[in-house]
Structures are given as structure tokens and as C-alpha cells.
Amino acid sequence: MPEASDEKITLIPDVLIIGGGNAALCAALAARETGASVLLLEASPRAWRGGNTQHTRNLRCMHDAPQDVLIGSYPEEAYWQDLLGVTEGHTDERLARLVIRASSTFRPWMHKHGVRFQPPLSGALQVAKTNAFFLGGGKALINAYYRSAEAMGIQIRYDMPVDALELKDGHFVAALCGGQRIAARACVLAAGGFESNRQWLREVYGQDAHGEWPADNFLIRGTRFNQGVLLKFMINAGADTVGNASQSHCVAIDARAPRYDGGIASRIDCISLGVVLNRKAERFGDEGEDFWPKRYALWGRLVAQQPGQLGYAVIDAKPLGKFIPSMFPGTQAASLAGLAHALDLPEASFLHTLNAYNAACRPGTFDHTTLDDCHTEGLLPPKTHWALPIDTPPFFGYTLRPGITFTYLGLKVDPTAAVHFGGQPSDNLFAAGEMMAGNILGLGYAAGIGLSIGTAFGRIAGTQAARQRPGGDHAH
């Protein structure tokens, strides 16, 4: 049974896991399965445990034939090509294929640890071939893993943010946490990215021409506990890094979302069905370029470049029912002028933009499920699909802000998940999850890929770390 968090830790565990999300739990469970004693330190209180995994809902699985909840097939090559496409080559093929192959073995193992899957539902049929949905989403998965961990005798301590490590020539000695020194024979780092570290985000996104710090206006879709403290510590300690330090996965979300943990409900799903304006009531992108899920990362960056980091999605009554509703009702008005007023946008400019857009819409056959032929002519920027005049009251407006999902910067690892210093792998320090996902996902995103990397490398890191224990096959 887990002991109270404030109790002093005296026994030296075989494996210390730093982090409390999917990758950390997979590492802990895999290490414990080999017989190692495991101590897991989660930075958050119990109620907030699970990191960004709380907000996930599926993982991407390779399979050669229909299997349990997955339809059709998703062979290794198709998976690899998808990954290559979204990352634009910012990936490591050896590590990527390791994850892809491992992903075919996830579901029985997850089921053993209490995770349950559900058949694809109508709204998600397009990913039923590639992604397995866990019943109840990420928090249900996290709960199952913690229950399994407790039942297996893994020690779990909450409210334990690790500040630093004690390292000796790339060898892990101990973790330092609020004055406590916690030694272990091996350690797995699975403490997430740095997306909630406001100062770090300022450094990444810099100051704009108006002297503002755009990153101050970003919302964080995930956990407030991903401060990147250990990531920064490791970089300063000379660990090799990978991934684009100046980027994060940034999407356009509901501006009314909370500053942290907005999660999936903060999505605004109607962008491609209307127009998007900035604070000057001008359009700044092609809303109908492609299906929204393929474009939301682009719009995160576009909105981040607008004054005040604000965007305004405007639709009329026609698309109602054709998109997933927002978590709070949209701003509603009976006229376009009324909507401009309600959104606090300059009315003349708003009407000018909307009238120009409406006049540029060419007749076509509207179909929001295909790349249809409704488009604008002679308008800049154009709207290339789903362009219907916005003329049917009531009108709705949704204010948008950039929302950060995760960061790409991570620690370089090899197929054993070992952390590297100056090109040399550590013998007992490993990384998993968002802290090393940039090795494989250096850019872009594909649904369920983060969980797959976390599960594959979590299990690898846990198994490798367990080999360091007395009696393990790598014992000294």
C-alpha cells in the first residue's frame, strides 16, 4: 500500500519513476512486472494526477487485420508514412518504427492493467481504423493504471515535484525533492514538457512589435504541473536534446477556456463552416482550406500572430447541428451589426468584411463532410471550401485564443530509452513520454501518437531501469 506522502523515504527502490502520467505509469508497471521495487513521485496532488494524459482519449495502433475495437488494417508502412507526413521528416525512423511495432501489443497489456476500450462511435469513424479509444478517456485510463500499480505494490507519492537530480558522470544517483534526497538504483524521467512554464514560453515566443508577450495570452490545454523543471535541469546538466525548442503544438481554442486544463472541451469546431476575423474585424486565413482537424494547429499559430492573440469565428444559423457544440454557448445576435457589437468588434469594418465575403461566395453544393465546391472568388484570403454566405440569423460568434497542447523539446534517447550525455548513453537514467517524444514527433501531430510513444517508451524505460537491480541482468 502507498504510504503517506510526507513520510520520509528510507528504503532505496530499484526503480524511481519521476512523473505520474501515462508514460510514468507504464514504466512503473513494466518495471514492477519484472520484480523490481518501484517508487513513483507525482508532482501534483492526487486529484490532479495523470498529467496531460487526463485529457487524452485514444492511442494509435498498428494492426494487420480487424482487431477488437479496430476496423480494417493499419500496417506498419501506412503508420510510418502518416508519421513521416505530419512531422515533415522531423523524426527518427528507428525509434518511430519501434513505437509503431510495439503499438500492436498495447491493448492486451493495457487490458490486463484495467484499461477498457470501446468500439468506435459514429462521431469518430474516420479514426476507427487507426486509433483505439479507451472507455471514459484518459482519466479513466490513469485511474486504472494507478489501481493496478497500488495492487502490485508500487509505492506512489503525490505532491512530490522533483527539483533536481544528483548525477555522477551521466549516472543517476538520487533525486532531490523539497530538501529530500531520494536515492534509487535506476531512474525513469517521465515528467512531461514545459508548456505550463510561462517564463519559458515567453522566451520561446518572444515580444511582438507592440512590446507585448504573446505567450502571456496563450491558454494551456493540459496540466498546470508541466513546468519543465527537470527538462531544464537535464539540459543544464549537459544531456543531449532533440526536437524544436522554439515550437509547441498550438491550436485555436475557445478563449473562455480556463488558463490550464481546458482539455478537449475547449475546441471550437465550426471554424471551417464560417469566417474568422481578428480584433480589427479582418480575415487572416483560408478557413476552408481543409478539414478542421487537419488545420487547427495552423490556426493556433495564425491566431497567435493577431493583435492581442485573439480571433473571432463567425457563423450564421445554417451550420448549426453540423459541428460539435462549444463548452459554453456562443455569443448570439439577430443581426450582423448586433454580433459586431456583442463581440466588441468595430462595426463598420466587421460589416465590410462580411459583406465582401458574402458577395464573393460562389454558388455550389454544400457538403461539410467532403471538400465541396463552395468557394469564394476574388477575395483575399480566399475561402476554398464550405463558403456559404453568412446571412441567416441568428448569428453566432466564438472568441478564439491560442491553446498549447504540448512542447516538442525533449531529451535524446536510443532504443533502450537511455538518456544521453555528449553522445554517450547513461547506464541507469531513462526517459519516456513527452520528455522524449520529440525524438519521434519533432513537428506536427497525429491523433493518438503521443500516447503511443508514451506507452511504448514507458514500457521500454521501465524494463531497462529494472535491469539495474540486484539479480537483474544488468546488475553491477
Partner: protein, 363 residues
């Protein structure tokens, strides 16, 4: 227009409708995704469709300490309690739900008093020479039929009017045979206490257990067996001219005993779970109603079994008065107790079975 609790359900459903991670747990969430706005009837429907299993609360990324404070099982349970009194007939008696523990206690006292006084008046004493289990020597058969006939008839009528009003608000359309069969199966199997994965529902924490469904089955089928025993006994009496007392190996005694045992195990288990359950994903204000009803069921089964065991003793009249008093209280309060949940939930399940077969039209 909406009550405070209904407004809260509408707020939470708007958030849930933007998330939809819980869609695999039960029927509430697929029913929600068919809606864009949540009017009063929709809220009442969803509230009664919910079985309070708790799975969506433990899986919720927006539950406290998140500022959204989503707690769907509690929000729906609070409205569910309101719907029981809203739809109750006559409306004045619907207020009995507001102090349900007191209501049931008063009904029980009245039932006990009635039969004790009757026993005294009719027999002159509560302790008598053994009567070989002949109940009718204490209370004439016709008197019992008249008393219970009136009470049961009224309760059935009141429940029927209540659920008819609920059904009218839901406006479900015509029920096809497959829809009726599906809904019946969902009621009899308590499908939505399985958590969507078959592992069961939540009690004290995020662990799943099938135990609540088992105890509910004991209660539900125990009740049905007791009811069947009564109906068969009435048949024996009127059609076959065989009067009580019945032999131990007869259908009324066997079914009644099995039912009584079910009504002993089931409510004991449900009471234990009710005491142990995490109060957060439920409505604490339903507890007097829950526990009062459980206590009444238990009293009925215990006095029934004790009566069977000592029906040949000189305390039979006393035991019989206690048993009949309990049964009378149970039946008199059917439309104003937890019992109503089964009727409204069955109606909501039928509505869902109809609705899911209809073409999805949002808004």
C-alpha cells in the same frame, strides 16, 4: 423557467457535449449528443436515464478541483429527485418527497396502528391460543382484500398518472416491438449498472464492482417473487377454492419464502453500499428516501419470514399485524417513495430505445 438543479444540468451537459469522452459508459451520453440545447423535458429524460453508476464522475477531467466542477451523477440525481415530486399525482402528495423519511415513518406507524387496533377490536386480545396459521381467524379475508385492494389500486393509479405525465413531456413517439424488447431487457438486466465494460459501477472510489447490481437483482426479483406468491395465493383462493394457510411445499409459500430471502439479502446489501458509497457523485438529499424505502422493504421481508416461522404460535396475530402494517405502508407510499424510480427509469429507457432508432436530427 428552469429550476436551479435543472440549470446546473443544462450547464454541465453543454460542457459534456463539447467533450463526449463518456459516450461509452451508458445511454445518457449518446442521448446527449443527439441534442444541441437542453430544454426541461430533455433534462428530465436524461436525469431518469442515469443509473447513478458513478463512472463518468471518476473519468471526468472537469470534475473538482477543476473550475468547471462537473459532476453529472450528482446533477442528474438532484433533478431526478425533483422529477419524482413534479410528476407525482395528486400533485399535493408529491410534496411528500420533500420529507420522505418522515413520510415513510408516518405511513408505517399508521399501518401498524391500523392492524394492531383491528386485531384488538376483532379478537379482543393480541395474544391468543395458537390458530394453526389461520390468518383469516384474525383478519377476515374480505376485510384484507378490501383494505389492500383500495390502497394498491390507488397507488397503481397514482403511479400510472405520474408516469403518463412524464411520458407526455418526453414526447417519444410510437414504440416499436424491438424498442420495447430492448428496453425491457435493459430494465430486467440493469444493463447500465455494468459501467459500459461489464466490470460494474463505482461505490467508495474509482474501483468498479458488480455488487450493486447483484444486490439490486436480489431486491427486484425478491419483490417480484413475493408479488407472484400473493397473486398465486389469490388464484388459489378464488379459482381453486383453496384458502390459507398453505403448506410449506405450496407455490405461495415457496415463492414467498424465496422472495422474502431475496428481499432480506438485497436491501441489506443496498443499505450497506448506501452507507459506504462516496457521497460526492450522488445526491445526499436522496438518502432519507433511499434508506427509508430500504428499511420498509426489510421490515416487510423480516416480518414475513418471522410470521412464517411462528405462524402456529400464540403470537401470530401480533406478527401478522406487524407484517400487514409494513406491507400496507409500503404499498400506500409506492407513488411517493423510492419505488417510483423504477417506473420513471423504465420509461426513460423505453424513450431511449425509441429515440436511438430514429434518424438523428440535431437541434
Amino acid at each position: 423557467m428552469l429550476t436551479e438543479y435543472e440549470t446546473e444540468v443544462a450547464r454541465e451537459m453543454q460542457i459534456c457535449n463539447a467533450c463526449r469522452y463518456c459516450e461509452g459508459f451508458c445511454a445518457v451520453f449518446p442521448a446527449m449528443t443527439r441534442r444541441w440545447v437542453f430544454a426541461r423535458a430533455d433534462i428530465h429524460y436524461l436525469a431518469n436515464l442515469c443509473h447513478n453508476c458513478g463512472a463518468c464522475y471518476h473519468a471526468c477531467q472537469y470534475a473538482l478541483p477543476h473550475e468547471f466542477a462537473v459532476n453529472v451523477p450528482r446533477a442528474l440525481a438532484q433533478v431526478r429527485r425533483e422529477t419524482y415530486s413534479t410528476y407525482a399525482w395528486p400533485p399535493t402528495l408529491g410534496r411528500l418527497y420533500q420529507r420522505n423519511g418522515l413520510t415513510l415513518a408516518l405511513a408505517l406507524s399508521a399501518g401498524l396502528a391500523l392492524f394492531l387496533i383491528l386485531a384488538l377490536l376483532l379478537n379482543g386480545a393480541l395474544i391468543h391460543a395458537p390458530l394453526a396459521g389461520n390468518f383469516y381467524a384474525v383478519f377476515p379475508h374480505r376485510l384484507l382484500i378490501a383494505l389492500f385492494g383500495v390502497v394498491f389500486g390507488f397507488s397503481t393509479l397514482a403511479l400510472a398518472i405520474g408516469v403518463a405525465r412524464f411520458w407526455q413531456d418526453l414526447a417519444p413517439g410510437a414504440a416499436s416491438a424491438p424498442a420495447v424488447i430492448e428496453a425491457t431487457h435493459r430494465v430486467l438486466a440493469l444493463t447500465y449498472l455494468d459501467g459500459g465494460h461489464g466490470d460494474g459501477c463505482n461505490e467508495a472510489d474509482d474501483r468498479f464492482t458488480r455488487i450493486r447490481r447483484s444486490f439490486h437483482h436480489f431486491t427486484f426479483y425478491g419483490f417480484l417473487l413475493c408479488f407472484a406468491a400473493t397473486i398465486i395465493a389469490m388464484g388459489d383462493h378464488y379459482l381453486l377454492d383453496q384458502s390459507a394457510p398453505y403448506a410449506l411445499a405450496s407455490w405461495p409459500v415457496v415463492l414467498g419464502s424465496l422472495g422474502g430471502i431475496g428481499l432480506l439479502i438485497g436491501p441489506c446489501g443496498l443499505l450497506w453500499l448506501n452507507l459506504l458509497r462516496d457521497p460526492v457523485p450522488g445526491d445526499p438529499q436522496q438518502r432519507p428516501m433511499d434508506r427509508g424505502f430500504i428499511a420498509l422493504l426489510l421490515l416487510t421481508s423480516v416480518t414475513g419470514l418471522v410470521l412464517l416461522a411462528w405462524r402456529d404460535s400464540n403470537a401470530m396475530a401480533l406478527l401478522l399485524a406487524a407484517h400487514l402494517g409494513g406491507v400496507m405502508a409500503l404499498f400506500a407510499t409506492l407513488p411517493y417513495s423510492k419505488f417510483a424510480h423504477g417506473i420513471y427509469r423504465a420509461a426513460a429507457l423505453l424513450k431511449w430505445a425509441i429515440e436511438k432508432r430514429q434518424k438523428e436530427v440535431l437541434i
